[in-house]
Symmetry: C2
Subunit: 251 residues, 2 copies
Amino acid sequence: MDPYAQTLVTVDVVALTIRGGSLHVLLVRRAEPPFEGRWALPGGFLRTFLSDAGPEREEDLEAAARRELEEETGLSGAGPVRGRLHLEQLATYGAPGRDPRGRVITVAYLAFSPEMPDPRAGGDAAAATWIAVDALDPPLAFDHARILDDGLDRARSKLEYTSLATTFLGPEFTIPELRAVYEAVWSEEVHAGNFHRKVVSAGGFVEPTGGTTAGGGRLGGPRARLYRAGRATLLHPPLLRPSRDRQPEDR
Amino acid sequence: MDPYAQTLVTVDVVALTIRGGSLHVLLVRRAEPPFEGRWALPGGFLRTFLSDAGPEREEDLEAAARRELEEETGLSGAGPVRGRLHLEQLATYGAPGRDPRGRVITVAYLAFSPEMPDPRAGGDAAAATWIAVDALDPPLAFDHARILDDGLDRARSKLEYTSLATTFLGPEFTIPELRAVYEAVWSEEVHAGNFHRKVVSAGGFVEPTGGTTAGGGRLGGPRARLYRAGRATLLHPPLLRPSRDRQPEDR
DNA sequence: ACAAAAGTGTTGTAATTACACCCATGC
DNA sequence: GCATGGGTGTAATTACAACACTTTTGT
C-alpha cells in the first residue's frame, strides 16, 4: 500500500449580504499562521468522531457551514435572520499545495442573508467583518480569492433565473429595494420601470401585502407598495442582465 | 481535543454518453462489500501521499476523476475520445452514515463523452458497463442514485444554455444528430424545423464544414449537412425545453 | 410511387427594450 | 415650486411555436 497521508476536510462559506446598497462578503482575519493577519473566508474543519459514536453524532456538510456562520456572526436560523438565510453548496477545492499544512479538501458553501449588523461578540468572531466586495484590496488567504470569485459568479447568475434575490431582504420589501439587490450584485443599473413590470408579472416571484412604505428617508416620490416573497423558486422567463459576457457557471 | 476519526475522500464520476439514441450512464458492479454485487458509480479514493513527497506528487480532484474513468473504460484524453471528453465538478456528498465503512466525503464529477464501445479489458473493469438510464431497476450502492439524479438534472439544464451537447458527438455531426442528443437527454421530442433554425442561427454554436452525410442507414430524406462545434460555450438566447412549465399564479 | 426526413417560409403571439408620461411626496 | 422617484402606457423590435411546404433520398 502506498504511504497515504491524512486528508483534512474543511467547510468554508462565502456569505454575502447587502449593506448600504453595496454587496458585502463576510471575512475573518486569521489569527495564526499560515496567512496570519490576512483576510479569509470563515470556515473550519469538519467535525468527525470515532466511528463508535455512531452516525448520529457526525456533522453534515451543510450543518458544518451553518455552524461556522453561527460561530462567527450569530447568523443562525434564529436571531434577526429568522429563517431567511439561503445556503447552498458552491464547489469543492482540492488542488495539491493549496494549504501548506497538508492535503486539505475544502467544501465551499454560498450564503445569502438580509442586511446584518456588524458581528460583535463571540470568541474568535472579534475579527469578523462585512467587507464590500469592490473594496477588497489585500489578497485573501489560501485560494479564497478564487472561491470568492466563484461564489460571486454563482450569485450573479442565480439572480437571473431564480427568485433568490428576495433572500437578501426582510420579510417585506418594495420593488425598488428588490431592484437595488440586483444592482448591487450585478454592479449594473437596471431599468426601473421595466424591472417593476417584469417582477410583478412573473408568476409567484412576489405577492403584494397591501401595505405601502411609511415614507421618510428618501428624497421624494410616492410611497412604494410592499411585497413579500412568493412561492416560485424558478423564474419563467428569467431576468437577463444587460451584459452579455457572462462566464459559464454551474446550474 | 475531540476524538477525531479519519475522513476519507473519494472521487466518483457520473459519466454519460448516448448509445443507440438513448442516454447511458457508466456503472461498475461492486466486487466487495459493502453493497457487494450492486451497481455503483465508478470512483475511488483520492490519492494522497506523505507530505514530504511534495505537492507535485499529489493528485488534483479532477485528475482523480479522469484517472477513474480511464481505469474503468480507457476513456482517456487519448483513445477514441480524442479530447472530446467534458468533465466538470458536480457536487460533494458528505452526509453521516452514507458509507458504512466510516466518514466518507465524495466529490462527484459529471462527464459527457461521444458514443463509446463497451468497456472490455483492464483489470477490475470487466464489471463496467454502459446502462440506459431509463432501464435502471436495481437500486444503486450507497447514495449513488441521488448523485446520478443530480447529474442528470445538471446535464438537462446545461444543454439549455451551453453548447455542451456537442461533446456527446464526434468532431463532425449533423443537426439531426445534435437534436437526437437533446431528445435523449431531455426524454422529449424536439421540433425538428425550429431546432434546426435556432441552432444554426445561434452564433458560434455550430459551424458548417461544407460536407454532407454519405447517405445510407436512414430510411429516406435528403443528405444532411455536416457541422463541427463552434467556439461559443454559452448560448444566447438559451434553448428552452418545452416541458419547463410555468409556475401557477394569478394572472 | 411512396414514405421518411432535411431544411425553409410564414404567421400569430409573447417577451424585451426604450421611450414618454402621470402623479405622490419631501424639501 | 421643484426635484425625486414609483408606477404605468405605448410602440418598435426581436424571439418563439406551430404549421405548411419543398426537396431529396431509400425502398
